[in-house]
Amino acid sequence: MTITSPAPTPIPAIDTHGAADPRRARRRRGVSAVAWRLLGIVGALGLWQLGAVLVDSRGVLPGPAIVFSELGASLLDDPGLRYLGVQHPGYLYNIGWTVGFAVVAWLVGSALGAAVGLISARVQLVRNVSEPLLFVFGAVPALVLAPFFLVWFGQGWAGKAVLVAFYSFVTVGLVAQSAALSFPRASEEYAATLGLDTRSRFRHVVVPGTLPAILAGLRIALATAIAVQATVELLGSQTGVGRLIALRANQGDVAAVLGLSLALGLSAMALDLLLRVVIRRIIRWQ
């Protein structure tokens, strides 16, 4: 048996930038991904328009063109709503009202939720105190509290703000708690063997380590926080998108209900995009 060795081939230089520059490849994939998504949205709008043409009744299913043109016409003022006694009938004003209060309440509630959730995963006393709230409202819609808040706080902003903040508190609290509970022990032990005490381990290891999960929880909570705010406005309010939806629905105006919902959805999406950019900057290490 003879072993023939092939002619020695030169060892190729190690390409430290990766074989075919994966970064550029990823970017290319990213561009096509955005294109496909846009195409999907355009397709959905097309289907909607087609459905509207087939149904042929703007009282049942108005097409996107009608919905958006009416939305545009009522952005700043709406005589019909003014006639109904709405003090600030412009859609923009009401969107700003709903989104503004929802975001402030969401921020406060989420911050509290993140703090309590994280600490409750490490301090049994805090866990015991917070457990009833998280256990119950992790499985029961916070919306069930809305009627109480409407009776106690009236139709003003305070009751709604408390409810939205509470919803965000529970959602983010649960996410933070489970993230801290499943955080790898070795990372904390490593920090301990470097000489970090309990407090700095929490601040410099547990908090940054669970941040990605918490920020993802914040994103989940934002859209629902806005929706909850609008829903409580639906049940009783003087201002806000929910109030306008209720008025328009009473008149059977499907186009206005769709337009207002879409406008609020688009605002939520814009905020979500902004949040995503901010989050990506914060957790570049992931």
Partner: protein, 260 residues
């Protein structure tokens, strides 16, 4: 701090560790005695689940002893301590810190003056071969490179002892060999005591001054390894090394089966 040089790095006597795991009481260590002289490279070998990791964790202060004495440099180990550095089997380094910040993590958190730790960080960073990657995130590094960060970080924290828990278990042969070389270089340069847990007999023979086999909760075999360093491929031809390998394998084999 007058005591540090007069005492052995570790003095362990009658160590017993017992705890509850998955609902039942287990006693991985029972009546273990061990002295580790200053500056030694000690490898702890043992079959899976027979206490070698528990021993290391107890030495690091991560695991409480149920009975017996554990002294590090003459002082009882009461908890994790910056003097007892540890390199973990898993990736335990903070993934959110860039390479240089990661290596500086320990001293910075302990509020060591920057003038003191800065040069040390740069030194070990170059020493383990991470020069030029200071600003990289750990996610951008290979598994071997992350281990280099972990090793540099522990040395930069300047502990008395390095405890290593199967640190290279998940790496391929060549990466492992190159990490062995870096580690031995750092050890010889700093003269620190290293306690290295492994289940790989060849790794132990290549690295250690002394090999201790932990079986059934106590020291089953304690051998000195005095082949000349650096130990390269010629160790494979060395009949003495071969007979040592056979002895160690035989002890491990007869005690295996404690697999859980």
């Amino acid at each position: 701090m007058t005591t540090t040089t007069d005492h052995p790095a570790f003095h362990i006597e009658g160590l017993r560790v017992t705890f509850e795991a998955q609902g039942r009481q287990i006693t991985p260590l029972d009546g273990l005695d061990l002295d580790v002289p200053r500056g030694q490279f000690l490898c702890i070998l043992g079959p899976s689940g027979q206490g070698k990791s528990t021993l290391l964790r107890t030495m690091a202060g991560l695991q409480e002893a149920s009975a017996g004495t554990v002294l590090a440099s003459g002082r009882p180990v009461t908890g994790p301590d910056a003097n007892l550095g540890m390199v973990f089997q898993q990736d335990a380094i903070p993934m959110w810190l860039r390479v240089r910040d990661n290596i500086a993590f320990g001293p910075r958190m302990r509020k060591v003056p920057k003038a003191v730790y800065g040069p040390r960080v740069d030194h070990y960073l170059t020493e383990v071969g991470l020069g030029g990657r200071e600003r990289a995130w750990p996610k951008e590094l290979s598994g071997g490179m992350r281990k280099r960060v972990a090793i540099a970080a522990v040395f930069a924290n300047d502990p008395d002892v390095l405890l290593m828990d199967e640190p290279f278990g998940s790496l391929d042969y060549f990466t492992r060999a190159s990490l062995h070389a870096s580690l031995l270089e750092l050890w010889q340069e700093t003269g620190k005591t290293i306690v290295f847990v492994t289940h790989d007999v060849d790794e132990a023979i290549k690295l250690a001054d002394r090999v201790v086999v932990v079986t059934e909760g106590t020291v089953g075999l304690d051998v000195t390894v005095d082949f000349p360093r650096p130990r390269g491929d010629e160790l494979r031809m060395n009949p003495e090394a071969d007979s040592l390998r056979t002895t160690l394998l035989r002890v491990l084999e007869s005690r295996a089966g404690g697999e859980q």
